[in-house]
């Protein structure tokens, strides 16, 4: 099993804590509760996804510049299923169905390829709801470090 240094874990813990704080007595926060100003530098490692009525048509509404560099293209408005292969953002969104099924945050880590680099990553995906019943958006984040050979 991959070993993670603290840096990958700390982002996930911070995001989970933030999501937890934003609940304020509800099952989950809503998309408007997630503020870039409150997340500071972490915002560049985060992404937001809006969902259709039945959890379909998952579309990116925010993609941080560190999780997917802007020079590779703009993912805003792109469907999650059309996410480029072998990217960190692809890995970080791979478990959308599980979050929708469970309705709770899910955190996954492992190895992946991104831009030709082998990475150790840790990601989290958290549900958001405007009516506290149906999940209509997702808030996620991931960070990583390069796997060095030898």
């Amino acid at each position: 099993m991959a070993e993670y240094s603290g840096i990958e874990r700390r982002l996930v813990f911070r995001l989970l804590d933030y999501w937890e704080r934003k609940k304020e007595g509800r099952k989950m926060p809503c998309m408007d509760d997630i503020l870039s100003s409150e997340l500071a530098d972490d915002w560049d490692w985060c992404f937001l996804i809006s969902l259709g009525d039945e959890g379909e048509n998952a579309i990116f509404t925010h993609v941080g510049s560190l999780i997917y560099p802007t020079e590779r293209g703009d993912l805003i408005g792109i469907e999650v299923s059309n996410c480029p292969e072998e990217t960190l953002i692809k890995q970080a969104t791979a478990f959308v169905p599980r979050v929708l099924e469970l309705g709770v945050p899910v955190s996954i880590g492992g190895e992946c390829e991104d831009g030709g680099d082998k990475l150790l990553y840790r990601s989290t995906l958290m549900p958001l709801s405007s009516d506290d019943v149906f999940v209509d958006a997702l808030f996620g984040g991931a960070n990583c470090r390069k796997v060095t050979n030898g």
Partner: protein
């Protein structure tokens, strides 16, 4: 092996366990559970390890961590106990050193003074000389 392991963090609310989050990392799950528990919003938290076997399409669940209010109370009372013991140790060190019981001074036997001894010597000498003078005069 085609087994997937995940760790579910549950909190106890309104007499039932509620799933809070799912992680694939045991340490993170334990840490998350402890953080939730330390928030004092839940009377108990637990971490359930779920092992899913793709071949048999079955899963096994095992509670690997559970902490309740009783545990917290015990921990608090143990901390208090340790603090009290520490305090007692401090008190002990700050106590005045025990006073030694004063020794009973035994009355010393007075030995005869040197002047008395000298007087006795002179007296014996005088008696002896007188006795010799008397015997010679016979």
């Amino acid at each position: 092996m085609s087994q997937a392991v995940s760790f579910e963090v549950d909190t106890y609310q309104n007499n039932k366990w509620v799933l809070e989050c799912v992680l694939d990392d045991k340490d993170m799950a334990l840490s998350t559970a402890k953080r939730l528990y330390d928030s004092k919003r839940f009377p108990a938290v637990r971490v359930v390890q779920e092992t899913y076997d793709e071949v048999s399409n079955s899963s096994r669940e095992r509670v690997i961590f559970e902490s309740t209010v009783a545990d917290r109370d015990n921990r608090v009372s143990q901390q208090k106990k340790a603090t009290v013991a520490k305090k007692q140790n401090v008190d002990r060190s700050e106590r005045q050193p025990l006073r030694k019981r004063p020794k009973k001074v035994e009355p010393t036997k007075k030995s005869p003074s040197i002047w008395v001894m000298a007087l006795w010597f002179v007296a014996i000498l005088a008696v002896g000389t007188s006795a010799l003078v008397y015997l010679r005069s016979l």
